[in-house]
């Protein structure tokens, strides 16, 4: 048992820290926020060619770097810490796990290959209900093929994606039944994409409308006609762990910039960092950031084991819900306290803490908020006969 980074993992983390802190300064984030897609295409090109991060968790057999979720978490902790604006999370945390978990080998070669070449990909799974993950898109078989109809909302980086994995449901199916996953090119006839204005401007969401979109059976992930609900759950669990990594980084940075501020700010003749009311708040923030980090690293190890086939989907679900529930609240707590510690300047646009506050709220609701994940754990604990 060795629950710490190896030297190689430390190097990956340090490289990510050095790169992101340089390219994702406050000024860079603010200029990215003003761009139509919410990120700089040049920077994404640099990330996907020089850093090659989209290849991190793609197996070597598929020409990726063959690293695991621990390395991915170490990297995304840094991108979250500096609010990096890019389609990296959509591509590596949503699309890549969908392809790895559900696609055939030939599909993996083709679509992971497109990602390796720098294409942006994402996952469209959410319906009109904002809680949970109800699917509104319907798949109907006709003589010509399969038609998709309906709307998928909250699609991360949907407006700039090259292709998307769409979760759909058979026309009369409900609940857990009849779920299927499809590769869709975003420029296909019958796909309309509308950018949604977002409170957190560092992270863009879109609405995808499918209007009699015609698909061939080869576009179905895995190519089989079985319900893929359980696969979608595991995909969302893997995605939630990656999002937790960004939350941990954000929680840490919200603490760090707040501590730096209170050490400078003088009132009543001394820095406010010397008052216990301030110190105790910061100590609580550190407890949250460190504990979220522990839950993340554990979940990342579990994700690797899941992808190797050595643990069950239920174990993955438990680890994902633990880290997503805790990290969501940790980041929000730290960002909220951070504003309070900044005093009046905390609510100005000029200071960065407000950006973390908005990001914290955005990530909290993404892929299920804390109470959603707690209820999921409560089902495991309370609604089964076996007590673990």
């Amino acid at each position: 048992m060795e629950f710490k980074f190896t030297d190689e993992q430390l190097m990956i983390r340090d490289t990510a820290e050095a790169f992101v802190s340089e390219v994702s300064t406050s000024a860079a984030v603010r200029s990215a926020m003003a761009l139509p897609d919410g990120y700089s295409a040049d920077l994404w090109q640099q990330i996907s060619t020089e850093m090659y991060w989209q290849a991190l968790s793609i197996p070597e057999a598929m020409d990726g770097l063959g690293l695991g979720y621990v390395e991915l978490a170490a990297t995304l902790e840094q991108t979250g810490r500096f609010l990096l604006c890019s389609p990296l999370v959509a591509t590596v945390a949503l699309a890549v796990p969908a392809i790895r978990v559900a696609a055939t080998e030939a599909q993996q070669q083709a679509y992971l290959g497109r990602i390796l070449a720098g294409q942006v990909a994402t996952l469209a799974y959410a319906g009109r209900q904002t809680h949970g993950n109800a699917i509104d898109v319907r798949a109907t078989s006709t003589d010509q093929g399969i038609h998709l109809n309906g709307i998928s909302r909250h699609v991360l980086n949907g407006q700039s994606a090259d292709f998307v994995v769409v979760a759909a449901r058979e026309i009369f199916a409900d609940g857990e039944e009849g779920v299927s996953l499809w590769f869709v090119d975003c420029d296909s006839h019958g796909v309309a994409i509308k950018a949604l204005p977002t409170m957190d401007q560092t992270r863009r969401l879109a609405e995808m409308q499918f209007d009699n979109l015609l698909l061939t059976p080869t576009q179905r992930l895995g190519g089989i006609a079985q319900c893929q609900r359980h696969l979608l759950d595991s995909i969302l669990d893997l995605a939630a762990i990656a999002v937790a990594a960004e939350q941990v980084g954000g929680a840490q940075q919200a603490l760090d910039i707040s501590v730096a501020y209170v050490k400078e700010r003088v009132q009543f003749g001394r820095t406010i960092a010397s008052y216990q009311a301030i110190k105790h708040k910061c100590a609580d923030m550190m407890l949250k950031a460190e504990s979220a980090r522990s839950s993340l690293y554990y979940a990342a190890c579990i994700a690797d084991e899941f992808l190797l086939g050595t643990i069950s989907a239920a174990a993955l679900a438990e680890a994902a819900s633990i880290t997503k529930a805790y990290s969501s609240e940790a980041f929000f707590f730290n960002a909220g306290c951070g504003i309070q510690l900044h005093g009046g300047v905390g609510i100005t646009a000029e200071y960065d803490i407000q950006l973390y506050f908005k990001r914290a709220n955005a990530l909290q609701s993404f892929l299920g908020n804390a109470s959603y994940h707690r209820e999921r754990l409560a089902k495991q604990l309370l609604d089964s006969e076996v007590l673990s």
Binding site: V259, S295, A378
Partner: protein
Amino acid sequence: MKLRFSAADEAFRVEVADWLRDNLCGEFDVIRFRGGPGDEHSFVDERKAWERKLGDAGWTCIGWPKEWGGRAASIEQQVIFNEEYARAGGPGRIGHIGETLMGPTLIAYGSDAQKANYLPSIRSGDAIWCQGYSEPSAGSDLANVKTKAVFDEAAQVWHISGQKVWTSLAHESHYCFVVARTDLQAKGHKGLGFFMVAMDQPGVTIRPIEQLTGTSEFNEVFFDNAICTPGDIVGQPGEGWQVAMALLGFERGVSTLGQQMLFQNEFNDIVRLAKANGADRDPVLRQRIAEAHIGLRIMRYNTLRVLSGSDEGELSAEGMIYKLYWSSWHRNLGKLAMDVMGADSEILSAQPYELNRLQSMFLFTRADTIYGGTNQIQRNLIAERALGMPREPRGNS
């Protein structure tokens, strides 16, 4: 980063579990899941006998060097031992202060004679130790001790006088380690000595403190010219603070994983109760039960990080939060237990004041956030040492 234990460690796990299954039974059945904080007063004689049984089989002090009778067990093996011990319902270790605090301190700082005098009886499970740090005016401000140690040149002994408080198990202990002032002119952490004092002598009086649970595991200990030989001071006079702080450094160790298994047992009791009495259908209680589960799992992951060593090799941030984390979590678990019990939480098992385990846990968890450094002191330490924030100005005392 890897979570799996080696095959050799898993074999060790089986060895521990088998031994406990074959030995924690019969006369020792009554002490399964007993003892420990909040229940320290229960089955003392049986737990002392159990301590000796562990000692005979080589299951005390397994992390100590072989030279002093330990097994030089790796961190992984100590983790496994503590987990299996708690899983089997092993009773709260009445010898834990000797094994986890006094012993390691002597191994690191004691003279050869002190090691030879004191380590074997801790290892065998015969000697019980207690801790003499806190005083009425030295609680959070631990350095403000008033207990005096005066050296009598003629008799060649130290005379110790003063009052200690919150001393767990004092009435069951053979020895107490006492921080006392050797330089009466000095203040704060200067001029202190660290003494090993025999409890069975005329100069030592013990008075139990009745707690909110109606039971007593804490005591007041009065020293009135208690005698201590010159060989029983660890370090030099004036070095007591350094030794006392080093001792506390041994406190955050692998035993915390055993503590977590006890917490897991309590949590499982609450889940069982919720399923039985319908509390599992209350959506708010479901959230709180899940939250407790999340909190306990993360406590374990925090500990695994601490035990694996920090990435930078210094006192790690995750190590500094441990006390604040578990005490707050356990306090919340206590209230959750009462809320899952519902109206029955108010009804005791028997007259005059017999609490069931969950009620006792609920009340005693209010001590968790106070002893061993209050939550407020923990937050000061985190802010000052981990976050580099300034100390608050001190008053004049």
